[in-house]
Structure formats: C-alpha cells, structure tokens
C-alpha cells in the first residue's frame, strides 16, 4: 500500500500508460465517425516491428519512428479501403488485420534475424528520454513527471490536442456529424467516405506512435505479439470516455495503474500469471460498470 505514495510507482504508471494513451486516442479518432477500429492491436504491433527494425538498420531512432508510423498508417489505409470501398465488415476486417500483423511480423522477424522470438539480437536504437529542466527539481511531482521518454510527453500533449480537435474545430464537428447522423453530413456536402477514411488514417497514426513506444522506449526490442492486448484495452477505455479525450485518457491511466500494480506485486512473489491477468480483469470490471451505468433504455427495441 505504501507503494502508492512512492513517486517511483506513479512514474511507472505514466510510463506504462503511454501506449494505452496513444491507443485510446486512436480509438477515439476512429469511433467518432462511427468506424470503430478493431485493428489498433495489429497496427501497434506492426509499428513496433518496423520501428525497431528500421531504427536498428539505420541506427536512427527517429527514422524508426517514422517507419513504424508509416506501417501502421498503411494498415489503416488497407482497412479503410476494404471497408469503405469494398464493403468488408469493419469488425471482421479489423480482426483479419490483427491476424495478418501477428503472422507477418513473425515471418519477417525470422527472415531478418533468424530468431522467431525477439529481435534482441539486433543492436537497436531507442527514442531518448527527456529531463525537463525546472520540473525535475520539484519534490514528488518532479520524480513522477520528469525523465520520461519523449514519446510519453507526446502522448500527454496529444490528449489535449485530440480533445480540442474533436470539440472545437471544424474537422472535429464534421467527423462527429458523420458518426452521429451521416445523412446530415451528406446533406451539406461533406463526404462521409472521406471523413471515415481520414479518421481511420488518424487512428493508424496514433496506433503507430503507441507501437513505436513499445519497441523503442518501453523496451528496446521487438518480441512476437508484444502488444499483448493493449489495443483491445484501449478500445474498452475509449468506450468509457465516449468522444471525450480527457475521459478516455483517464481510462488509460486507470489501466496503467493496474499494470504498474502488477509489476509491483510481482516483486512480492505473487506469480506473474496472476499479475498479468490484472489489466484484463480490470477491463472486464470496467466494462460491466460502464454497461450497467449507461442510461437504461426503456425501449426493448432500441438497441445500441
């Protein structure tokens, strides 16, 4: 219990929440237009792979970051194309892409490194950390907030950016219109197709950031299926917050706490399998609480 007063714990929470924050932003940006991106998990994985591979080959973490984001965005384009143009079901498409990502990353990993488990054999390049000058000297808060990976700071900033984008900009309004009443958008000449496409691409970009962090900040290698369900947890966290990035971020931090607690608990000799279960059980609980709290519709026939 005293761990909760330890700034090291909260530092850990923020670090661990980073990929989830990106994931939740990705989920929000896709769901406001009504196109829920189930493929965030696979997109993160793809970005994690290409990020560290390119970074290692070029010995440049920023190129790696770019490559990672490009790969996840490309997957988003494929999803958008298949769903919007060829009318593939969105959920099935997302599931297919997750499978594709899982298989392709292992295939290429083996091809490039000869190892099916991880890319640890490569000399990797990572995204650096940042010590923020005045912040780091503040008691407690300094230990918690300073010294994080650059991507962590980007994640925190992007929460506010996305929130503003969604609520206060023309683009945000148009995207929300498309999600809530596509007919209204069409009637004023907004291209529903283009908005949905754009939202999936934005979603892919943020998923890319999240994945890149995993293999170039959280750890410095790629391991098969290293996203471990984070993409799905992000989707659940977004369901909590609706179209508000702030609420969604809150959800992400909540799961970050669960994960960080798991790590702490492991040092108490609680078996890793139990602690690994924690974020998923928490998601389940949150899902139930959320479902129960939703305005209980009186109508049997109006399903969500």
């Amino acid at each position: 219990m005293s761990d909760f007063l330890n700034p090291q714990f909260w530092y850990s929470v923020i670090r661990v929440s980073t990929p989830l924050l990106f994931g939740v932003m990705a989920a929000i940006l896709s769901s406001i237009t009504g196109t829920i991106n189930i493929g965030i998990e696979g997109m993160m994985l793809m970005s994690a792979f290409w990020g560290t591979i390119i970074a290692s080959l070029a010995q440049n973490p920023w190129l790696g970051l770019l490559a990672g984001i490009a790969s996840s965005t490309m997957m988003a384009v494929i999803l958008a194309y298949f769903h919007l143009k060829l009318k593939t079901d969105l959920v099935i498409g997302g599931v297919a892409l997750n499978l594709l990502s899982s298989g392709l990353t292992v295939f290429l990993l083996y091809l490039i490194t000869g190892d099916k488990g991880s890319s640890a054999s490569l000399k990797s390049a990572v995204i650096p950390r940042l010590d923020i000058p005045f912040l780091k000297d503040l008691p407690f808060v300094g230990r918690v907030l300073s010294g994080h990976n650059v991507l962590t700071y980007i994640a925190i900033i992007s929460v506010f950016v996305v929130h503003y984008l969604v609520k206060k900009t023309p683009l945000g309004i148009r995207m929300r219109a498309v999600g809530e009443n596509p007919g209204a958008a069409v009637s004023v000449g907004i291209s529903v197709y283009r908005m949905k496409f754009l939202s999936l691409i934005l979603s892919g970009i943020f998923a890319g950031f999240g994945g890149a962090f995993l293999s170039m900040g959280y750890v410095s290698w790629f391991a098969r299926d290293m996203t471990s369900g984070r993409g799905f947890i992000a989707i659940a966290a977004q369901a909590l917050g609706g179209s508000s990035a702030l609420f969604g971020a809150f959800g992400a931090i909540l799961f970050g706490i669960a994960e960080a607690s798991g790590i702490t608990l492991q040092s108490l000799r609680i078996p890793s399998e139990i602690t690994n279960m924690l974020p998923f059980i928490l998601t389940l609980i949150v899902l139930v609480i959320y479902a129960r709290s939703r305005v209980r519709s009186h109508s049997r026939i109006q399903e969500q």
Binding site: D89, K116, I281, R300
Partner: protein, 349 residues
C-alpha cells in the same frame, strides 16, 4: 438466378484464393533461394506422404470444431470470439476429468469430452451473461476472457498439475481410459469423425429446427425477431453457451487424442483460426467441413514447406487474412452481380 449467384460466389472464392497464392509466391521470392520448390511443397506437401496426409487431416479437426463454434455465434450476429480462451480452459477441464475421474473404460473418455464441453460453455458463460444482463459488448469481454484464460490456466497447470518427471512444462499423463483413439500407425485422430458428425448435426439444427430459425432470424434482424415474439436475448445467451461447448469439445478432443496430457505453454491459435474457417464457410456449419479442410491443408502445407526450406510458416496466416478480407468484400464482383440481377428484373418486365 440463384444458380448465377452461387456461381459468382464460387468465382469470387477462386479469385480470392488465386490472389492470395500469388502474393504468397511473391513473398517466397523474397525469402528463399528456391521459391518454386518452396511453393510446390506448400501446395502439394500434404499429399506427398501418408504421414503428411494424416497430419493434414488431424489439423483439420480442431479447426472444424472451432469453425462450427464460431459459425454458430456469427449466425446470430454475435461477436463472441472467445473460442480460443474457451478451448484453453476446456483443455484444462479435460485434464482434470482425465486425471481425477475413475478409470472405467468408455465411460472415462466420454466424461472427459463432456467435461471439456462443459468447461468451454462455462468460460463462454461470462461474456454471454454480461451481454444478456447488462448489454456489455461481447467482443471486448470475450477478448479479455481469452487473455484471462491463458494466464489462469497456465498458473494452475504449471503450479499444481505439473509433471516434474517430464522434461518440459507439461501436466501429468492421462490414463489410458481417458485416451481418444487414433487410427493406423500414422495416428489419425478419430475425432475427425466426431467433428464431421457435429458439423452436420449443428447444420441441421441451424437450418432444420425451430431453434435454428430463431438463431437465423435474430442474426438477420434482431429488432424484427424481438417484435415477432422471439426472445432474442435468450437466443444470444444459449447460442454463446453452445458455441463455448463446441469450442470446448475441440480442446478436449485435441488433448485426449493427440497429446494425452496438457502440453500447451502458449495459445494454440485454433480459436482464432476458427474465425477464418467460419467466415470462409459463410457461417454455414455444413460448409465448415470443406472450409476447415482447406485451411488445414494450407497450414500443413506451410508447415511442411517451413520444415524443409526454412521459410517461416507464419506466412500462411498472412494469406489467410488476405483471403478473409477479399471474401468478405461484398463489393467485389458487385458489378457482375448487379448485371445478373438487372437482367433478371428486365426479364420480368
């Protein structure tokens, strides 16, 4: 008209497979010095020896069953994709019944299989209940249950049921009364007959019984079904339990026939493959039989190729994902479909 549509579906299938294979070949070009050799192994591998052929048939067994499980829920348009977790948990259940139930011949194996199905249904109960009672998304809850199942079962097996005399992290061996027989010296899984029979049985249920009508109507239009008097939330509940039981049976059969102890340290993936099988079969349990055989053929072909040439067999997963995308792309061949419909409409003018 119906025939034209069926032919178009077949054409779509052929084109999809063709494209996928083409892309597969391209991958091979980049990853090995002998792409043609590898490709040949991939396409014909399962037919080259009897052993390999049996390997292929055996692989189709769990795929067929998870395919059936998922086709059931997909028919009702319920996205409970927890087959993987249900299978894993049911395997654990099978192990329990195998190790602790009296070893009476015939009865024991029946109990093991029944127990596996029961555990599978139990694991599916959670998402089913959450959806029925509180309308919680079964997609998210079933996904979470997959991960929870994995960690939970591993925790139990590795800590309480581990056979310390064996070399690897596996459970105690099952007694012989809990074995499902294998045939011939190549060890053909007799469960294949069970799974084919089950596919037919479930197919008959879906298309030829009242409950099947309920499932299909609920899947076609939930509001309509509710309005017509069908208790749609109950239909959703039971179909998920049934699906869990079938997925559970898959786990039980696999363990009782092929390994005779709990051997998995990671998720075997059959539950996710079941999604592909079901989609390819257009959610029709009867068609799951050829669909599972097809996917198994590709899998084993890729494995054989992998063993012989050093190309990672995971490439086949990529091909399968592509196939899903293409098969479910309704707009593919849309133009031809429309022309056929228009011609038909003109004929009636």
């Amino acid at each position: 008209m119906k025939r034209t549509l069926a032919i178009l579906e077949l054409v779509r299938f052929v084109i999809t497979v063709g494209i996928a294979l083409l892309i597969g070949y391209l991958f091979l070009l980049f990853s090995t010095d002998e792409p043609t050799e590898a490709f040949k192994l991939f396409l014909t591998g399962p037919l080259t020896t009897q052993r390999r052929f049996v390997e292929f048939l055996n692989n189709s067994v769990p795929l067929m069953m998870t395919g059936i499980a998922l086709s059931l829920v997909f028919q009702a348009k319920i996205f409970n994709i927890g087959a993987e977790g249900q299978l894993f948990f049911s395997a654990f259940g099978a192990m329990i019944f195998a190790l602790y139930f009296p070893q009476t011949p015939w009865l024991h194996i029946l109990v093991v299989l029944f127990g596996a199905a029961l555990f599978g249904a139990l694991w599916a109960f959670v998402p089913a209940f959450l959806k029925t009672k509180w309308k919680a998304s079964e997609l998210v809850s079933s996904l979470m249950m997959n991960y929870i199942s994995y960690f939970f079962v591993l925790f139990l097996v590795n800590n309480f049921f581990r056979d310390k005399t064996a070399g690897a992290l596996v459970s105690y061996r099952f007694p012989q009364s809990a074995w499902l027989s294998t045939l011939t010296r190549f060890r053909l899984n007799s469960g294949i007959f069970i799974s084919i029979a089950l596919a037919i049985a479930i197919g008959l249920i879906v298309y030829r019984t009242k409950w099947g009508y309920q499932i299909r109507a609920t899947g076609a239009n939930k509001k309509f079904s509710l309005y017509s008097g069908i208790k749609t939330s109950m239909v959703g509940f039971w179909v998920q339990l049934l699906s869990g039981a079938v997925a559970g049976l898959a786990g039980g059969i696999e363990l009782a026939a092929m390994y005779r102890r709990f051997v998995w340290q990671s998720l075997p993936g059959y539950g996710f493959d079941g999604i592909i099988v079901a989609i390819l079969a257009r959610n029709n349990p009867f068609l799951v039989i050829p669909s599972a055989l097809f996917i198994a053929y590709l899998r084993i072909g890729a494995n054989i190729m992998g063993r012989t040439t050093g190309v990672a067999p995971e490439i086949v997963v990529v091909l399968q994902s592509l196939m899903i995308l293409l098969i479910t792309a309704e707009a593919l061949l849309e133009r031809f479909k429309q022309r056929a419909i228009t011609k038909e409409a003109m004929k009636n003018e």
